[in-house]
Assembly symmetry: C2
DNA sequence: GTGAAAGCGCTAACAT
DNA sequence: ATGTTAGCGCTTTCAC
């Protein structure tokens, strides 16, 4: 664990530190020098000190992806998309789990300077402090979500309104008329926009009644809890549950099962985000793909572009949603065959 | 985005940089100086450059949690536990998604030096290169998993052997005799140890037959794929499926459902890791808790302890597993009542 | 209590 | 092609 510096390598190789640096970085140097420096570095087990290098260069060659809740698969999906873009550049990506808004503000303020050269930020809640911090950030921040123009950050948005509209229209097209919306906290960006989108879409559909309940979190457990409450009180009164995201949707699916409600016969259920969970759940969950991977990819590209050209005009991209219809809203033709098991023959 | 340095603040406050630094860091300084410096810093929107600070101090005040697949909920759970410990210290935590072994080796080699002051590493695969990199790392690395003594790293292990034994004994106790094990890649640490543990436990159980298949990944999709193959070919011949982790287990659950097999009547299913998914799936999944949160917590504490005292003896902690019995292996007394839906009365 | 100055490890002029 | 040297922004002796 003894620190071995460039000076040590230079001494060992019998050349100056400048030549050593050049040799190591592939700049002008005679093959012989390169060889000797390489050997010396290897023998000594030399690794360049990133701190010193960054200080000198004025950049860290690192990017951050800051996300409130990495436990939500949709953010993991975004992360993978970002990672793919970043891997193709010569930056490294670090992930930062921010938790609440205060922590996010903290992060934007402090991490930015000298920690990373740029950041893709997916905030759950946006406060004025956060906006101010982003506006004042010494390195570019690309925001996944809404941000006032005054902040001057590149943004990539999902079209939640259109997404909710797709969901509601699909349900109405399937003959559903009494909808219930289970939303996460409305003081979050997704909560707010999905709420607005649902309200508008429902209001625009003649003959449709809509109720909305809010749960504490965008999680399976909260979705389950909310659905149990909702369905126990008004099972006969609603014929579709629109969940604000897939996690809540999975919770609703389980609640329906526990209450003996058939999906989609008795009740249709939809999610948002089109995560893997929606594809693999039983029944599979109809969900609207808000383009998480696409948004992640674009955000990463915008970040790289801004770093390359700091004065370029601000971009604001919106990704269109796509509805993925699955078994939780539409009865499929065939159910799979039953297999013989434990020796008994089954129908 | 103009860079404002300590010198700017000093000039503005009308004191030396030394005094400015001291005032900002709460060292000796007259109240008056502190006041003026604070004001100047605020006016200028000064944030200390972490790079320069780190170079001078020789530490970054940052820790890394490097994990192969943050998409697996069990690693998220670990992350949260680590985060809790780190938050209580005055270090910051960054997460690094490593992907394959090569990337992990890269990370250990390069990130360590001047990027973070220490690292909790949860590698999926361990190669000699990785061991060498860890042994040579200039900052402490705590490994979640196995590591030869020669590497000299603190390690925190799960007791997979005992875990698999708990699972097998439970199944045997429930009258199951024909077990199938669906494992992930055996060249991974968890794959290898869960394989060994299962084999041993099955062999130690008289009258029990066991088969094993391997799927490409510890994922729901792969678990589903493997289970379909397995169950279609030998549904009548096995009465329990032991999945190498919860994700695979969930996949098996879905496959059983698609094949019309009743769980647990026709077939019992178990997982490993006791993630939230196991608790919320329908039926809920019996799973063995390998103590992920506990291991994360301990790893973080070991790291902090080693940073504080670099020469302390190497620690090697093993966390005991706990079996969580749920509906996928044991028929529960009551099924919930069916509710009236869509106006029809249901049984 | 305060300021001048050294120096963390590295890269990039600049001179040779 | 190579060496000398300044300096990135900060903290910390050291002298006052």
């Amino acid at each position: 664990m003894a620190r071995v510096t460039l000076i040590d390598v230079a001494r060992r190789a019998g050349v100056s530190v400048a030549s050593t640096s050049r040799a190591l970085n592939g700049l002008v140097a005679s093959p012989e020098t390169v060889e000797r420096v390489r050997a010396a570095a290897a023998e000594l087990g030399y690794t360049a000190d990133a701190t010193a290098r960054s200080l000198k260069l004025g950049r860290t060659q690192q990017l951050a992806y800051a996300v409130a809740d990495i436990g939500n698969p949709v953010y993991v999906e975004m992360m993978r998309a970002i990672e793919r873009v970043v891997a193709a550049s010569d930056y490294r990506l670090v992930i930062s789990s921010t938790g609440d808004v205060e922590a996010t503000v903290d992060l934007v303020q402090s991490l930015s300077r000298g920690f990373v050269d740029g950041m893709v930020l997916a905030p759950l809640r946006v406060t004025e402090e956060l906006e101010a911090a982003i506006a004042a950030a010494p390195v570019p921040v690309v925001v996944l979500g809404r941000m006032p123009d005054t902040v001057g950050a590149d943004t990539v948005k999902a079209d939640s309104a259109r997404g909710m509209e797709l969901v509601v229209r699909h349900l109405v097209g399937e003959g559903r008329r009494r909808l219930a919306f289970i939303n996460g906290p409305v003081d979050t960006t997704p909560g707010q926009f999905r709420h607005d989108g649902f309200r508008r879409a429902a209001a625009a559909s003649p003959g449709v009644t809509a109720i909305e309940i809010t749960v504490a979190d965008f999680t399976i457990a909260e979705g389950y809890r909310g659905a149990m409450e909702l369905l126990e009180n008004s099972a006969g009164e609603i014929d579709a549950v629109v969940a604000a995201n897939d996690l809540i949707g999975i919770g609703v699916l389980h609640a329906a099962d526990d209450l003996g409600l058939r999906v989609p016969e008795d009740i249709a259920i939809t999610g948002v985000d089109d995560t893997e969970l929606a594809q693999v759940s039983r029944p599979s969950l109809t969900s609207v793909d808000l383009g998480a991977a696409e948004r992640g990819r674009i955000a990463a590209e915008l970040l790289l572009a801004r770093i390359a050209e700091p004065e370029r005009p601000t971009h604001m991209v919106t990704v269109a949603p796509v509805l993925r219809v699955r078994d939780s809203t539409v009865q499929r033709a065939s159910r799979p065959i039953r297999l013989a098991a434990r020796g008994e023959a089954l129908a």
